[in-house]
Amino acid sequence: MMPINLLLKLYKLFHGITIMPRTPAFSKLEHEFLLKAISTGVRLDQRDMLEYRKIGISFGIDYGCCTVEIGETKVMAQVAAEMDRPRESRPSEGRLNVHVEMSTIAFPSFDPTKPGELGVGIQRMLERSIILSRAVDLEALCVRVGEKSWTIHLHVHVLSHDGNLIDCASIAAITALKHFRYPDVSVIGQDIVIHTMEEKHPIPLTVHHMPLYVSLAFFKGCERLAIDPTYLEEKVMDGKIILSINKHKELCSLQMNGQMNITKEQILRCTEIAAVRAKTLTELILNAIKTDTDDKKLGKTKSQTVLEKSKDNKEILKSELTVNSQTSEEIQIANMSINEDAVTDDAIKNGHNNKTEKPYWLTQHDRQTCSIGDGKVNAWSGDGAESSLGIFKALRADTQPEEKSEDENEDSEEEVVILDDSALET
């Protein structure tokens, strides 16, 4: 039984066609294993069939920037406002444009130049649920009828793809829109004056309702239903039903993807499940926005991440991350809370939200660098190296502030990895 890569190379040789498998090949064995597990009601990450992964919402420094993570799937949404002419067919309304970017950092087969079917799908679905359902009041964005109105640009960047992109994107989009504030405007005769943030408080957008997408995947001829599918589950599913619903139980969009034949009762049942889900999500979002707004009022530059706790405890946890003023633009990652003071020899304690301690082989060197194990002695730095920690000196905080080690890798279960110094020189 030859491995797949070797088979592909042979095929290439014989047929002279370039095949570039940009995604790792998915074996039939994995496929069957997943389906078998799901048919007995077991998912790969031991969730229930109707259980969501952990959701984390965090905000940036400016209003309108929001990052949402559902498990490993991460999507960032950023809202920007621009003063422009309104559309000819609707002269008394502002505009809302949705742009979706699928870059290769999210997934190897994403092409940044073309959004592809997935990208176009996400964009159309967001447009449908937000614009067509009149979630945002566009008439309030008009400044002068027929001449000037605000155009709101919603940029959605997919940062990591591990299934269920549309849910993540919709939470990020709605949260960003609700969080966003645009500058206040006064019309004095013929002039339109846009006030800066310091002169007058910026105004939040009027969001009438918050439509959130919920995806449910069907397996094995629609016998089994799973909410929030991961990437692997999406590969083996028959299809999914995607609903956009708000907390008032109003459906804003309903779509089926994939090859499945379902009955009306199944659709109605999915609607019930989605309605419950949307309600809890709406509370989480409003809570997150409120926490962030309060923090901003207090002038804290800290950015908090509001996480949903696991199913034992229904409360919402908060975890604080310190924001380095240089790196304020960067996205805060909820998992690694690196405490400046507690740099120890071995384990990094993250007492806030993770129940398990960091493994002993994960060493920390300074605020932004850590590694697996200790590296070799650095022949370049000579003496004067700080020492009590691991010996890995190629990356120092003062010389290269932005460079992050590539070993922030918790799930490696291999033994201590000794990294070659030459690979780290820049």
């Binding site: 176009v120 299809g239 804003c252 309903l254 090859q259």
Partner: protein
Amino acid sequence: MAGLELLSDQGYRIDGRKPDELRRIRCKLGVFTQADGSAYIEQGNTKVLAAIYGPREADQNMRNQICHDKCFLNCEYTQATFSTAERKHRSRGDRKGQDMSTHIKQTFEATIQTSLYPRSQIDIYLQVLQADGSNYCACINAASLALIDAGIAMKDYVCACSASLTKGKPVIDINHVEESSDCAELSVAILPKLDQIVYSELNGRLHANELPDVIDAVVRGCKDLFVVMDRTVREHLEETATTFTHS
């Protein structure tokens, strides 16, 4: 358009139909000679042409999609520039067209018995000549007839219909005026004999409690449509059969 009532007090819509009435449907199979299968459908003022090529060998730029155990579908949806009230040029790969193509492709991937045609490609080309609401539904119906004309194995007919909710009553087979109003629009494609929903799409806002009524109405509309389509196919078959026997 503000003064236009979508449903009058006597229960008539703008074009004089009752809420559960379909528009006039005319369809014809075998309109093109070159294509393997073709069909033309008129639903009221919405006119759609469908052409099917396949199953055939995959062409060069689609080589990477070949499956060893089933055929893959390629769908292209285009709307003519003269199809709407205002002339609007739509480029080939525009988002709405791409979105529509993806949905139609998914609908047929669930219906065509793809395992019978390994390593091949089936192309579905749809051209909307006049768009007066329910574009997706007319395209599905046209493609379904064209696939039957091409003799490609399917699980069942695919019939699609659209519905909306006006003044608490579900109205089916909506036209452009009803579509552009603020009401929700639900398009559903079903397999009529198997009574299964293959594709559904909802635009606009609809309360979850109103959903069952709208789905029921739209499924009834699809089944009525099926009767018309079935009759057309049988008539077409009788015609072609007589030409064979008398030649």
